[in-house]
Amino acid sequence: MALSGLDIYKLLPKTNCRECGFPTCLAFALSLAKKAVALEKCPYVSKEAKQALEAQSQPPIRLILIGDDKNKVEAGNETVMFRHEEKFHHSTAIGFIIEDSLGDTDIKQRVDKIGKLHFERVGQQLKTDLIAIKQAKDAARFIDTVKLISGLTNAGIVLMSEDKAAVSGALKILANRRPLVYAANSQNITDLAALAKENAGSLAVRAESLDIVLELTKKAKELGVEDIVIDVNTKNQEAKVIGEFTQIRRQALKKANRPLGYPTIAVMDKLNSYEEVIRAGDYIAKYAGIILLHTFEEWAVLALLTLRQNIYTDPQKPLQIEPKLYPIGNTTESSPTLVTTNFSLTYYTVLGEVEASKVPTYILSVNTEGMSVLTAWAAEKFTPDKIAESLKKSGVEEKITHRNLIIPGYVAVMSGDLEEKSGWKIVVGPKEAAGIPSFLKNLG
């Protein structure tokens, strides 16, 4: 929370010496609050004042980086409780837990499979972020496993171990990769914090209650660790964890409570794949910066990455594509032509069905400012005039010889008007994109 002019005034010498160029300390403070002047202008400002003001310029939730410079995973720096207030900034990082008790072949296969878990949706690449290596055996095996996995992938690495020797050895292998050490508790925080600091890693702290989390993050900071991640797993009870995650974000945003101004991590435990997906769904919606899963089934990961894409979409800017004519497949001068909006979801859904039909087709995407067919029609962004104009501008009239335009079934009512305005013959297509393949095949 920003300091007010009066808050800042209290921190100034109150001598009104005018050296800052302002008539009074209060005037200087008011200007500082608006960030219109630099603190350095006052030569007499105290150390405490400096610290308080510097803290103010930091984001309320610290941005944490995991991974090397080329494969950075970012968590934190969120600014709102609800996505409609602005947007959620850094997509929840999704990672997979691999235990060192597995054989090397098995591990290789898993890492390989996890590496293939990326999907294209609505023009965006959906990717996973992290691999978490969990210690179940001795330190030597853990270190070997870290060596093996870090050589196979450039994903961000999480070290799940509370064994000092194991973590220390693993960190040496991971220079420049900024791993996350998971997790410090009241017993081991001194050791793990020292290791994280030495090796430029970040540190997760784990506790059963927020009061203990507070102690731990303060301690970690005192020990020189800046990049901290919070795991609070109260009785492993879902609503409790959601309550705590909510509280952590509120403390950071509404009270500028620095020791809670860090991203959160949720680690799935003793659940089947379905249950993991569902719980992870809660955490994507409610404030997790990082989620670690055991399941790496394609269907599970596809669903979660899709939910993450939805929740983290900027509500002020619907995903749009460039409005123009798109030839799909080996189009010819007699290829069918259909029209839709430039809302990504609509366009890509139509595109998917056109591709599935295997009928070479032109898709004309009209600029509806990212609105879907019905919304755009209601808002008069998808009108006969606009479509007629796009037809002219798109150059489609030079590419094809026929003049038949397929329109979405939902806007069938505009057929007559559009025929008049464009001079094209209007063919009413299906209402739902799913009907496109059979429609195109039966055009004859």
């Binding site: 609800f82 996505r83 409609h84 293939k116 999907f119 949706r121 927020l210 009061d211 507070l214 009870q237 879902e238 609503a239 409790k240 959601i242 309550g243 909510t246 509280q247 509120r250 403390q251 509404k254 009270k255 794949s273 379905y274 249950e275 997906v277 569902i278 719980r279 769904g281 809660d282 919606a285 409610k286 089934e297 394609e298 269907w299 599970a300 596809l302 669903a303 979660l304 899709t306 939910l307 894409q309 939805n310 929740i311 979409t313 509500p315 979801l345 859904t349 998917g352 879907s372 019905l374 919304t375 739902e432 799913a434």
Partner: protein, 321 residues
């Protein structure tokens, strides 16, 4: 020193909607369902009462669905050909809280079934089941205005939840539902202002506030889910802050939306990268539902028995507090 918590303080609660009536109450249901009543945002138990858990209605069609994938129809089994058996199965085997009977066969483009046939399905389903009933029309205004008032009358005394009314077409059905003592579903197109306006129009006809459910129109996972998610969050925040015209429980037709998604239907043969179609479809519905539970949904209308089971267990976990 213990952390001083930042708690939201709200001045209003969501209204409590009751569906179903027992014999003593003039109906024939074995039990009734109450939903809504929240005094806080979803599952934040320390900030206000959450007196009723979210409930699951299972969707039953009066005609055999022709566009549902096999992964879905085979889980329901041969009963899918007969709405009465289907509804019974939802109650006894799939443990639904409610039946949601969708009169798809009323649509002029479908079978355009005569009114008396549709009314008979409603009566038969009521006779064959003991859990409360939701009835939704085919979505074609003219047909719905013909069919639904008759169904409303036939179900008099059962305190059914009937829908849907929209801003351009609400009078006919609202009048019947009001007269027959049922509750109504008010549908708005992902638009908080229309949701509110419609509730004002309905309650102007003297429909009590606690006999209305809001359908804000949801999109499936990957298909506009985020729009409805934020509309629901905004409406619920307004409701808790005192706006009585938005303080009704939400009904979400998650099954209808999720099973239209390509990801829920496509075979693994078509999209090998997407993994098993069985689990994928179930997950698509369950995760769509999960997201809307976090946005404040109260009545989840679902389709697949396995997703229903998963969501039921999840709700139980969430309601442990």
């Amino acid at each position: 020193m213990a952390l001083e918590l930042v708690k939201d303080k709200w001045v209003n609660a969501v209204s409590v909607l009751t569906i179903g009536a027992t014999k003593e109450e003039g109906g024939s249901r074995g039990r009734i369902v109450k939903c809504g009543g929240e005094e806080s945002l979803p599952f934040l138990f320390s900030e206000g009462k959450i007196p009723h858990r979210p409930v699951i209605a299972m969707e039953v069609l009066d005609v055999e669905p022709d566009d549902w994938p096999r992964t879905l129809t085979s889980a329901i089994g041969p009963a899918i050909k007969n709405p009465v058996e289907w509804a019974q199965k939802c109650e006894s085997e799939f443990k639904a809280d409610l039946i949601c009977l969708r009169l798809a066969g009323a649509h002029p483009d479908a079978q355009n079934k005569p009114v008396d046939q549709l009314v008979k399905v409603v009566k038969d389903v009521l006779k064959a089941t003991t859990i409360p009933l939701i009835i939704v029309g085919c979505g074609e205004d003219k047909r719905d205005n013909e069919v639904l008032p008759q169904c409303s009358q036939a179900a008099k005394g059962e305190k059914v939840l009937i829908g849907e009314v929209v801003q351009e077409n609400y009078k006919t059905l609202t009048a019947s539902v009001l007269a027959d003592g049922h509750s109504i579903i008010a549908q708005s197109p992902i638009d908080i202002n229309i949701a509110k306006q419609l509730n004002i129009l309905i309650t102007d006809m003297s429909m009590p506030l606690d006999r209305v459910a809001i359908n804000p129109t949801v999109g499936a996972l990957g298909y506009g889910l985020e729009y409805a998610y934020s509309i629901m969050e905004r409406a619920r925040l307004a409701a808790l802050s005192g706006d009585k015209m938005l303080a009704m429980p939400f009904i979400s037709f998650v099954g209808y939306e999720a099973w239209r998604a390509k990801e829920a239907k496509a075979l693994v043969l078509e999209f090998p990268k997407w993994g098993s179609e069985l689990e994928r479809g179930i997950t698509w519905e369950a995760l769509t539902t999960t997201a809307f539970l976090q946005a404040g949904a109260d009545i989840m209308v679902m389709r697949h028995p396995k997703s229903v089971e998963l969501v039921r267990n999840h709700i139980e976990e969430l309601m442990r507090g």
